[in-house]
């Protein structure tokens, strides 16, 4: 399987540049092949490429048994930019690329809403570039660039229906504080460079590891790291809409075109979660120069996560607008993910922390799939009912039995019912907290899940089971395969639950232990050192 590993390493370097090439040649080809239908097909080819390459990368990582590293331009890693993939970003990258492909296929059906589809598809590919770049990169400055690519695409996509005043307003709300957050992250980067003289993630981790093994404690490095990590985490939690940075999400996600809502709610918020996990587990492990501050940061993230989960679940109940209800559900679930991901306190057994991280990543997968599915299904209902309010959509689901089944299955997964993925990821969170001896957070997970049930039940009842009023003259739309697509996603949501033993063991081995256990986490640094020795003249 040597060829696969080599191919995966090459694909790691090729994915982002080739996607950029796809994005920038789109207007040119559009002039040749027609403006209405062609852009979607072009974007679909690009997204198929992204999905294939992320699959190859994940397979390459699996066969290599150690992280893959691609050094751009042949420069040795801390000097040049390098992309490095370990279990965490291989799994999330695979999930992101495939879900984005589904969203791309759905966009073809949604195409009649776009008056100039080429700009929409360029921005959609841009979103993919930003997400895959942020996931694969092994360089904190490149992470900044990729987060900016992601953000600008996201701001512009939220404002895509520029004739709607609400959409432009929501985009402004999102963009102006988002740009501030990324600038603050840039200040954090300058501090990283001042402290370590390096911007490579593995290099920073290696230096921390050296300080840790040599038992050197330097207050300058501790305080500098604290400031830099705090500034970075603000940007990451803003991107993932963790309470109190969630204020933009309930406006921006509903106002975006429906496929974009699915991408933002299901995928983009995960990038912030990924970056936080990378900073707090790979760069700064327990015993790193961040020392006791790391535990404080994790505690703060836990408290914010719980508050976000609670507030999101409560506000979800009172929503009238179906997309807004789903957006508050995202706030709630991101809170849960942060609650699980912040159980990395120093002194806890490795198995428990690995279990908590497995739960967090599992929940990223189940929540992302179900949320993308729900937004896409609600798009079908909204198009039929011509409104987003639940009272205007009464019984509209009866027209589409397949879509309604998928819709209900997605909600059941978010609720955490037994055969679906959502149940198992919440069970893992509960188990991790119980094994850590923290009964109260374990109960909080259950309380938050219970609190969110009425909101979901209201949406299911009004859209599917309520009888349509006499005045509601719904016209059935031609779905042209979208029902099959949505049903396929619902099957995936179900499989994420039914295949629990397999998924759990894979995630636990490659993500949980890969981040936490000392010898496996060391591979991330060792691959970097090997590349440095090999490439340095």
């Amino acid at each position: 399987m040597d060829w696969l590993v080599r191919l995966a390493t090459d694909m790691l370097g090729l994915t982002v540049p080739v996607l950029a090439l796809f994005a920038f040649t789109l207007p040119l080809f559009t002039k040749v092949f027609g403006e209405k239908k062609y852009p979607g097909i072009h974007a679909l080819i690009a997204l198929i490429y992204a999905a294939a390459s992320s699959t190859i990368i994940a397979a390459g990582y699996y066969y290599a048994g150690k992280p893959l590293l691609y050094a751009y331009g042949g420069w040795p890693p801390p000097i040049g930019i390098s992309y490095e993939v370990d279990g965490l970003n291989a799994v999330i990258g695979l999930f992101t690329a495939w879900t984005l492909l589904f969203i791309g296929i759905y966009s073809l059906w949604y195409n009649h809403h776009f008056d100039e589809p080429e700009w929409y598809y360029i921005l959609l590919i841009g979103l993919g570039i930003g997400m895959l770049g942020s996931l694969h990169t092994g360089d904190v400055f490149n992470l900044f660039v990729m987060i900016e690519v992601l953000s600008i695409s996201a701001y512009a996509l939220v404002a895509y229906h520029k004739r709607r005043p609400e959409a432009v307003e929501a985009a402004m709300k999102y963009a102006i504080i988002g740009a501030t957050a990324t600038t603050i992250y840039f200040i954090g980067l300058a501090i990283f460079y001042g402290v370590y003289g390096s911007l490579n993630m593995a290099d920073i981790s290696y230096r921390n590891y050296q300080l840790f093994t040599l038992l050197i404690s330097s207050p300058t490095i501790s305080i500098g790291s604290l400031i830099a990590v705090s500034l970075s985490l603000w940007a990451f939690t803003y991107k993932s809409a963790l309470f109190p940075n969630h204020f933009w999400l309930p406006d921006a996600h509903p106002e975006a075109p429906t496929p974009v809502s699915a991408a933002l709610s299901g995928l983009v918020v995960n990038i912030g979660v990924y970056a936080s996990i990378r900073f707090l587990y790979t760069l700064y492990f327990p015993g790193s120069p961040l020392g006791v501050y790391r535990d404080i940061i994790l505690l703060v993230l836990f408290l914010l996560g719980f508050t976000g989960a609670f507030v999101g679940a409560l506000l979800m109940m009172v929503q009238e607008d179906v997309k807004r209800l789903l957006a508050y559900s995202t706030v709630s679930h991101i809170g849960l993910i942060y609650m699980a991901a912040s159980l990395g306190f120093a002194g806890l057994p490795i198995g428990v922390v690995a279990l908590a991280l497995t739960a967090a990543v599992y929940h990223v997968l189940t929540h992302g799939t179900a949320k993308a599915l729900l937004f896409m299904a609600s798009g079908v209902f909204i198009d039929t009912g011509k409104t987003r309010s639940l009272s205007g959509l009464r019984g509209v689901g009866r027209l589409y039995p397949w879509v309604s089944t998928a819709f209900i299955m997605g909600f059941l997964s978010l609720m955490g019912l037994i055969p679906f993925g959502g149940f198992f990821s919440k069970l893992l969170m509960y188990k991790a907290y119980m094994e850590a001896g923290q009964v109260i957070p374990a109960l909080l997970v259950i309380i938050v899940s219970a609190l969110s049930v009425p909101g979901y039940a209201k949406a299911i009842y009004s859209i599917v089971f309520a009888s349509p009023g006499r005045s509601a003259g719904y016209e059935k739309l031609k779905l042209r395969g979208v029902n099959a697509l949505l049903f396929l996603m619902a099957i995936i949501v179900l499989l994420l639950g039914l295949l629990y033993p397999v998924i759990y063991s894979v995630l636990y081995k490659y993500v949980g232990l890969g981040l936490v256990s000392p010898e496996k986490a060391d591979l991330y640094r060792r691959v970097f050192l090997e590349a440095y020795n090999e490439l340095m003249p």
Partner: protein
């Protein structure tokens, strides 16, 4: 205190002031144009900060710090290289700033066009009056 250190202190204190003012402007000024101007000030402050991180203050008794340009690379020897390394400022933060400036340009342009579109819809740029969304 020599003159260079004195000027550096002035620069750093004014930068901290700038940072506070810019954040105040972004969060509390009601006018969108002023928010965008504050954002550019914040970006410029961040860029200056990155440049200072790479700056080298008076490395030797008599040698001032120099720009990171390697002169005479066609016939390079070891002493020249040593002298260069000991006196030149760090070029990497300058490269970072170059990237950040370009990104900042794109973001600012996008925000300006968004503000223009908001003005077309609402007839004002005062965020207290732009309230069609609930929250």
């Amino acid at each position: 205190m020599d003159t260079a250190t004195y000027f550096l202190y002035i620069l750093i204190s004014s930068m901290v002031m700038n940072l506070a003012l810019a954040l105040y402007g972004v969060f509390y000024k009601p006018h969108l144009t002023k928010k965008i101007i504050s954002l550019t000030i914040l970006g410029d402050t961040a860029n200056t900060f990155a440049l200072i991180i790479g700056y080298r203050l008076w490395p030797g008794e008599t040698t001032p710090s120099r720009p990171p340009v390697l002169v005479g690379w066609t016939h390079l020897n070891k002493t020249m290289l040593q002298q260069y390394v000991s006196s030149a400022v760090d070029p990497l933060p300058q490269a970072l700033v170059l990237t950040a400036v370009v990104i900042g340009l794109a973001v600012t342009l996008f925000l300006v066009f968004l503000a223009l579109q908001i003005y077309r819809h609402y007839g004002t740029l005062d965020v207290r009056e732009i309230r069609k969304l609930r929250g």
